[in-house]
Every structure is written in C-alpha cells, then in structure tokens.
Amino acid sequence: MSADGRPVLQVADLEVHYGLRRRRRRVLHGVSLSVARGETVGVIGETGSGKSTFARAVLGLVRASGGRILIDGEDVSRYSARQWRALRRRGVVQYVFQDPLRSLDPDLPIEESLIEPLLVQGVGRKEAVERGRAYLARVRLDSELFGRLPGELSGGQRQRVAVARVLVTEPALIILDEPVSALDSANRVGILEILKELRDAGVALIFISHDLGSVAGVADRIAVLYQGEFVEVGDARAVISNPRHPYARLLVGSAPTLRSAAASRAERDALRALLHA
C-alpha cells in the first residue's frame, strides 16, 4: 500500500475542551497523528472518548485549545472563518458524519443534499446532478430513491447517501465516522471496497469505527483512543492481533465474533482491574 509522500494531515499535541467555566472539561489531550497520501488510519476506542471530537477539531468545527493541525502543509489551527471557508471550498477535506439522519437536511430530497458540495464549489447544476447520481449508484442506491427525503429512507440507505455526498467532491482527505455501522455485511463490503479503491488512488482516509473487523481490514495503521488520548498507535494487524495497552486488550477481547463468544464478564473485569492498576 502506498503510504508515501508528504502527509496530508499532521496533528500535534491536540487539546480540545468543551463547555464553559465550571462545566469546562478536557476531551482530547496530547493527541498526535499524521496521515500520508494513500494511507488509511483507523481510529477505534471507547464511546465518548473523543473520536468524533477529533474529527470535528480537524475540520474546524470545534476550536482546539492547544496543539497544531496542519492540512496539506498549512497550519489551520489559527485560521479565521474566512480562511476556513476558502480551504473548504477547495474540497481538500471532507467528513462523513456519524449520524446520517442528522447530517442530512430533513426538508431536502437526498439528491439536493448530495449535490450541495458541488454547487457550493461552483459546478453547474446539470453536471452536479450527473456526478451525484453516479456516486449514488456506486454505493448501490436505487435510482428511484433519489427524490426521497432523508426521513423516507432506511437507516442503511441514509448512511450510503452520507458516504456518497462526501465522495462526490473527490477530496484529498476524508474522515469517516462510523460509515458502515448501519449496513448489512454485503453493503458494508461494498463501501469498504470503495474505500480501498480511494486509498489506492492516493486519498488519505481516517476511518473511525467500532467494527474492529472492518478497521482491521481497511486500515494500514490503527490508533486506539481512550479517555481522550491515543494509548496505542501501530500497524493495523498488530494492534488487533496483539494489542499491548490494557485498554486495547480489553477492547479487542470484548468483541464477539460469529464463532466465539467475547470475553466473559469475569475476564473483562480482570482486564479492567489491570487497566486501573
């Protein structure tokens, strides 16, 4: 896999806080990661550990309280709203939201949502519709669904719309937040294959997921986030088959598979004791 070239994304010592005054809490801290062109980094970890927050910080949706973020070599940590807009309009980085329903305007037919990024970039409507349809077909959505509102689709259909919307602009870096969580295994394989194709075409991907199998299958490297810190970063297969940090072990151990039950309660408690030791 072509994990070469200069990094598309470099994050150093990222720190993010939420809330004001008394309710101010640190969510991310000391997070560093770099992603090269054609590289896929999987991010796994506890729910509420800050995975989506990490993505939002990289996209400038939340302001980092410390550290640096470089996209395509440019330091964006102190960007103004105007600079962000210019960067975004170039379509360098895109994001698949974790919750497809909330990230699609309930009053717009999915086709409209899909072509919005293209229209914003100044692509003509006709061409935008054409390109949008091509991507909807690519994620295996029936053309009769194009005119539906998001509320009129099933969970998995919406998720595929959300993925397609991000693909249409052909960005250099894509952050995918649980892009396959609502898909049956056949459709999941379809999306994962698309991701692999993108990677081979030189796109940098950050793949956030709770589905360890998918992450292991697609990612080159895996980062394990626990309580706002990367506790383990390493080769994908190694992290899954031979996790070192106690939390990573707890996580991999808790995953049920079709043939074997996950670690029992007692085993998990033992691992957790180790974690808190």
């Binding site: 975004r88 994001y95 990230s103 949502s113 009129e152």
Partner: protein, 297 residues
C-alpha cells in the same frame, strides 16, 4: 415560494381574502358614504337603502364606521404583529448565538412578560409613555412578544446546532447560502403561524384597550370597538355584531390560511401534503375533488 403558495387552493384563497382586507384598509375611509362620526336621531335602525347596515345607538351609519375603522384596525394589528416580531423574533434568534448571559436574561424577561397581569401593565405603560395608538400597539406587541421569542428561538436552535448546517459549512458554504437553503425554510413557517395568530389577537386586544381609554379614543371607529358596542345592544339588534365579527374572522382566517400554506409548500410538510393527495386520489380514483378556490382573483 410565492408561486408554490399560489399553486395551493388554500394559498389562493388566503391571498384573495387578505387583498380585500388590504384594499379596505387603503380605500375604506374615502369610500364611506356617511360621516362615520356624524350622529343622527335615527338610532338603532335596521338596514335600509340609506344605511346599508343600519345605525348604531347614537344614530351613526354602521357601514361607514366599518369602512372608516378598517384602516386603524388593520394598521393597528399589523403594527402589533411587527412590534412582536422585532421585540420577539430578533432576540429569539440572537439568544442562540450570543453567549449564555444574553440567553439567560432574555429567557427571564420572556418568562416575566408571560406572567405579567395584562391590565396593570397596560395602564402603567400608558402612564409612562402617554396615551395614543402607537403606545397601545407597543404595549400589546411587547406583551405577545414572548410567543415570538419562544417560537423563533426553538426553530433557530434546531437549525443552528444541526449537523446538516455543519455539513454545508464543511463543503465551504457561506452564511448566506446556509440561510437561504437551510434556515429560511425552517424558521419562516412557525413564525408565520405565530404572526397570523397575533394579527387576530391584535384586533381584539386593541379594542378591549379602548374600554380603558387607552389607545383608540371612543368616537373613532375600529372593528373591535364596533363589535364591543354592538354587543351592548344585543337585545335591539341581535345580528349587528355579526358584521364586524365576520370581518375580523375573515382577516384572522386569511392570515392563518396563508401561514399554513407557507408551511405546507416546503420540505417534509410539503411532502406529507403531496402524499396525502396521492393517496386520496388513488382512493377516489379519477374524480379529483374540485378545490374551493373560486375566490381567487
């Protein structure tokens, strides 16, 4: 938007009614065949060729008074609605964007206004600002503004924190683009519905204030005032209150229809309407019901 509203029978009906009312407000005073303030010995007369709607307890021509009063009434209630819009909607939207302190204060003020006893407040404001129609409108407008505050705040909250707005931002959309494409369609319908309600409240409240000698002074005619005085002579002319009441109802109904039409032409609600129609059409088969929209100009 305008074209789609007009495509609905209810939308055409609403626009028709409201145009008539607006015409009345503009031309009414000049059209009045008699002096609306001129009394005569002929009191409480029934309808006749001379007095189309009869005369009131002082012998004034009711038809003329209705026409003459339409401008004050319509302007009054529109003013109430506009003041409520400015005093309510603007802080409602801003409360979402301007930090917690602003949010806290505006919320408390809105709560206070809701709890305030209306009459005491009205009298106090008159004492402070003097007596007159603008002051009365201001009073009422401020009083109903919490409704607008709440409505505007709720719908803005829903949109502002939504991820689809963030998704548009990530794609590089400008604030203007987002306002046009995502916000406008969601804040407008609830505000329009609230506005329509307020116009109705405006008519009634402005005239009830007249009882207290606030705002419109007794001899000057308004629809609400006519209604009130007619009610006092119910035993002589039981049908008399019907006419001003009808006018008020028509205005309120027209505004509500328009608000509903605005809501119904867009997004999810629009789709729901379309779907109901398709289902109905399928059940009834070819015979599509003819809409009662014949009033449209």
């Amino acid at each position: 938007m305008v074209r789609r509203v007009l495509a609905l029978p209810a939308g055409r009906l609403a626009v028709g009614i409201l145009s008539v009312i607006v015409l009345l407000a503009i031309l009414g005073p000049t059209l009045a065949p008699h002096d609306p303030l001129g009394t005569s010995a002929l009191t409480l007369a029934g309808p006749s060729w001379e007095h189309w709607l009869g005369t009131d307890y002082l012998g004034r021509d009711v038809f003329s008074r209705l026409l003459a009063g339409s401008r004050t009434s319509v302007l009054g209630s529109v003013e109430v609605a506009l003041i409520a819009l400015v005093v309510g909607v603007v802080p409602g939207i801003l409360s979402v964007y301007f930090g917690q302190v602003f949010e806290w204060f505006t919320l408390r003020i809105a709560d206070t206004l809701i709890a305030l006893p209306f009459l005491i407040y009205a009298v106090a404001v008159t004492a402070l600002l003097g007596n007159g129609i603008p002051q009365a409108m201001f009073t009422v407008g401020v009083l109903v503004s919490p409704l607008f505050y709440r409505v505007a705040r709720a719908s803005t909250l829903a949109v502002a924190r939504s991820q689809y707005v963030e998704a548009a931002l990530i794609s590089g959309a400008s604030i203007g683009w987002i306002a046009r494409r995502h916000v406008w369609g969601k804040v407008l319908p609830p505000v329009a519905v609230a506005l329509a309600q307020t116009i109705g409240i405006g008519f009634v409240v402005v005239s009830s204030l007249s009882f207290l000698g606030i705002g419109v002074q007794p001899p000057a005619p308004t629809w609400g005032g006519l209604l009130a005085s007619d009610l006092g002579y119910l035993s002589y002319q039981p049908w008399a209150p019907a006419v001003p009441a009808l006018l008020i109802m028509a205005t309120v109904w027209g505004s509500n229809l328009l608000a509903d039409a605005i809501r119904d032409v867009s997004g999810e609600a629009g789709r729901a309407l379309l779907n109901s129609r398709r289902v109905r059409a399928r059940r009834l088969d070819p015979a599509e019901p003819i809409p009662a929209g014949g009033v449209a100009p």
